[in-house]
């Protein structure tokens, strides 16, 4: 089974989801990311979903899980590139993705991660 590639960019991990994932692939991504956060002591995870036309409750919860696990491992998560149709659908599904920060583009997402980490180091405590 192919796996979704995870790129290391300095202190962050970047994941770009390009394919329509089946459940096992999504779970594998969850596992892989968690492992890599620990492995690289990453402080930020950027998930690019600009290629996703559909995000259902399973994928939505996977994203929420990733953010929650990242938090426990002292990393922030930013999801970027959500399409309008996807956003509307997720709202109808009632998914609010707590603990997940969002941004329009990868660039903005990186900026956001920097802001979050700076705030964290200033307060001595993770930004919420």
């Amino acid at each position: 089974m192919e796996r979704i590639p995870i790129l290391k960019m300095g202190n962050y991990l970047l994941v770009s989801i390009q394919v329509d994932m089946h459940d096992q692939l999504a779970l594998a991504l969850q596992d892989d990311l968690t492992e890599r956060i620990v492995q690289h002591r990453a402080h930020g995870v950027l998930i690019d979903i600009s290629a996703l036309e559909i995000v259902d409750s399973f994928i939505g919860r996977m994203i929420g899980n990733i953010a929650a696990m990242a938090r426990v491992l002292d990393a922030q998560t930013v999801v970027v590139g959500m399409r309008p149709a996807v956003a509307i659908t997720l709202v109808e599904l009632g998914l609010s993705l707590p603990g997940v920060h969002t941004a329009l583009t990868v660039e903005r997402g990186m900026t956001r991660l920097q802001e979050l980490l700076e705030a964290e180091s200033l307060n001595g405590r993770p930004a919420s």
Partner: protein, 134 residues
């Protein structure tokens, strides 16, 4: 109301769930659905297809292209011969989980569809029907 076209697809593996998603999208594009409507019906279908595979022990998804007067629609019927749902009302509430994590699937699918119907009998199986009109 007339059924212009009908076809059934197996739902046994998570690959089948992905395939049914893509087929539903294909049909909705052909029926001329707007992007938002396409996304809604495909997402609802994804929720229900997954339920069929994960909790229903596998089953089928039957697509029907509908024509009612001037409007066109897509109906998808998800059927399985699984354990069935004891308390449908509760299952439709968001956040409900029977320990098997039915979670947000049913309620969400209902909100995303123009029409929604569910029949289920414990020990016999479940049938969920959704319709999305253009």
């Amino acid at each position: 109301m007339a059924v212009q076209r009908a076809e059934a697809f197996p739902l046994h593996t998570s690959d089948d769930v992905v395939r049914v998603r893509q087929i539903v999208r294909g049909w909705s594009v052909e029926l001329g659905f707007s992007l938002i409507d396409q996304t809604k019906v495909v997402t609802a279908a994804s929720e229900l297809a997954r339920n069929t595979v994960t909790y229903g022990g596998g089953g089928t998804a039957r697509l029907e292209a509908l024509q009612d007067g001037g409007r066109r629609g897509l109906r998808v019927v998800f059927e399985d011969k699984g354990p069935g749902i004891a308390d449908i009302e509760r299952a439709l509430q968001d956040g409900f989980t029977s320990g098997h994590g039915l979670g947000l699937g049913l309620g969400g699918a209902r909100r995303l569809s123009s029409e929604f119907a569910i029949e289920s009998r414990v020990g016999e199986g479940t049938r969920v029907t959704i319709v999305r009109w253009r």
